[in-house]
Symmetry: C2
Subunit: 304 residues, 2 copies
């Protein structure tokens, strides 16, 4: 099933999520950015995960990830508890409130990239402090394509660190609020171009139900979201998108314009599967054939 | 230039617009739904306009519309003043405040379709009371494809009238707030399908900078907005979209799925031209060749 050309490394959080939605509640289920990313990307290529958990992290979660072919050599287990998040979605699912965050072992996460992971060619730096993200770049030798996520917190608190990171990475994935905050531009096209001027040659702006917008010096590109009526739980949609995108791209012969466009479509489709169940349930259960069917649907959907 | 297959009738407002934007102000310039619609549609087919103005409506506005080939036999000039609107856009252009509305002669607008317009095959009912919109349907004999716009006011105040109208028309064009208000569904896909169940076989949901979503019993379809950095004045974008859509469709041999998809793309492109200058300036000055270039750009833009 895998047509992996290159190994894909993800560095990010692993968490226990408690998620309240109008459709139901999941308590202390497997979550975190690296988890969603890896479960998405594993459909396309081999994935190496660097993260941290506490002593309370159950063997069944580890088994689930391993059974999907994810290399957990970089999943550090430390004294203490696993990062825990508790959130609640609004009735229309368009906003969420964080009710509780216990950073626990993730609080002073110092990613340690195992020696066997140092040759990773594709690297995804999930949301974290620019300093933490930067520390990963010093631990990989042959990275060809590095993409990072970030959030409002780091744009506010460590603009300098983020600026330095942007000069070192190939791509940035952010949402529309974040790109406007980062650049001070309210027009999305101007904002996207302004990020390109900060360093990366690829900027993907996620717009939730409105799809995404892609900027590069060579092309602009936009896709609507895959049309699903079954939005059960949006948690992890962004990381699943990134996983589908990076996973597909890592499986390609080259990082061409068309492969990037297709990769964005795979990211879109992968995210649509994630939101159709609570937590990672649907994402962990899905397969490449399901993704391919939706990919063809999406192609039809935007063709004119 | 025109490849008109069928005549297209628009019934709506003609107005003096005073528009304040961060980019400048236009005072008492030509506006109104029928004006934007007609100036957009005239690039594709021959357009017949039914509206009302007061004694203060200057000959130069009439000349402008006529010089673009728009048939003004249905533009009634009554005692009194022309409908006048005054609005102000927010700094990020994403919201606007109405500062003043003088309905004047438009207040008791009773559309009178001239005898020579009764054979119109394509009809666009611009925003107005469902009762007014319905009265037009009794004055046309051979309508094949009728599309209506509406707004929150009518959804609130005359749901029954709107419901009756929906059973008589082929298509509805609304924005995302309106479709959710009309159906009580917060998921856009569910909302779109719920409108289909009310009668029309085509529902186009406009989402501003996020493009549009199209529902029919036979297909779903979405397009991002044309990527413009130059958003000077969004006034009339929706009516220009409708004009490009209906104008192109009226110029086609058949109302096929693919022609509808292409028509939505033409509407998208036409709206992008409108927003690039204050009032109708850019729309009135543009030509089919410019539209075709953007159409090709848009095709590239969403292809993967």
């Amino acid at each position: 099933m895998l047509s992996a050309r290159m190994n894909l490394l993800v560095v990010g959080s692993t968490a226990f999520d408690t998620i309240e939605t109008p459709h139901g509640t999941a308590t202390r289920c497997l979550g975190g950015s690296s988890t969603y990313f890896a479960l998405a990307a594993r459909m396309f290529t081999s994935v190496r995960l660097v993260s941290v958990v506490g002593q309370d992290f159950p063997a069944e979660h580890r088994r689930l990830l391993e059974s999907r072919g994810i290399d957990l050599e970089g999943l550090e287990q430390k004294a203490g508890k696993t990062f825990a998040w508790h959130g609640r979605y609004s009735a229309d699912m368009n906003s969420r409130t964080t009710l509780d965050v216990q950073l626990n072992t993730f609080g002073d996460f110092q990613p340690k990239v195992p020696t066997s992971f140092r040759d990773s060619r594709f690297v995804f730096l999930a949301n974290g402090s620019p300093q933490t993200q930067m520390s990963v770049l010093g631990q990989v030798d042959r990275a060809e394509f590095v993409v990072a996520d970030t959030m409002d917190l780091w744009i506010e608190r460590d603009r300098d660190g983020l600026g330095a990171l942007l000069k070192r990475i190939n791509g940035l994935i952010v949402n529309d609020q974040e790109v406007k905050q980062l650049t001070g531009e309210s027009n999305l096209i101007k904002a996207g171009k302004a990020v390109l001027a900060m360093g990366p040659s690829l900027v993907i702006v996620k717009k939730g139900e409105h799809g995404c917008f892609v900027f590069s010096p060579y092309f602009h590109y936009a896709l609507p979201a895959y049309p699903t009526e079954k939005v059960i739980d949006p948690t992890g949609a962004g990381d699943s998108f990134a996983g589908g995108f990076m996973g597909y791209l890592a499986s390609c012969d080259s990082i061409s314009l068309w492969n990037m466009k297709r990769a964005v479509a795979y990211g879109t489709v992968t995210a649509s599967l994630t939101v159709e169940a609570l937590g990672v349930e649907r994402l962990a259960a899905t397969d490449r054939a399901t993704v391919e069917r939706r990919y063809q649907d999406l192609l039809q959907f935007v063709q004119f």
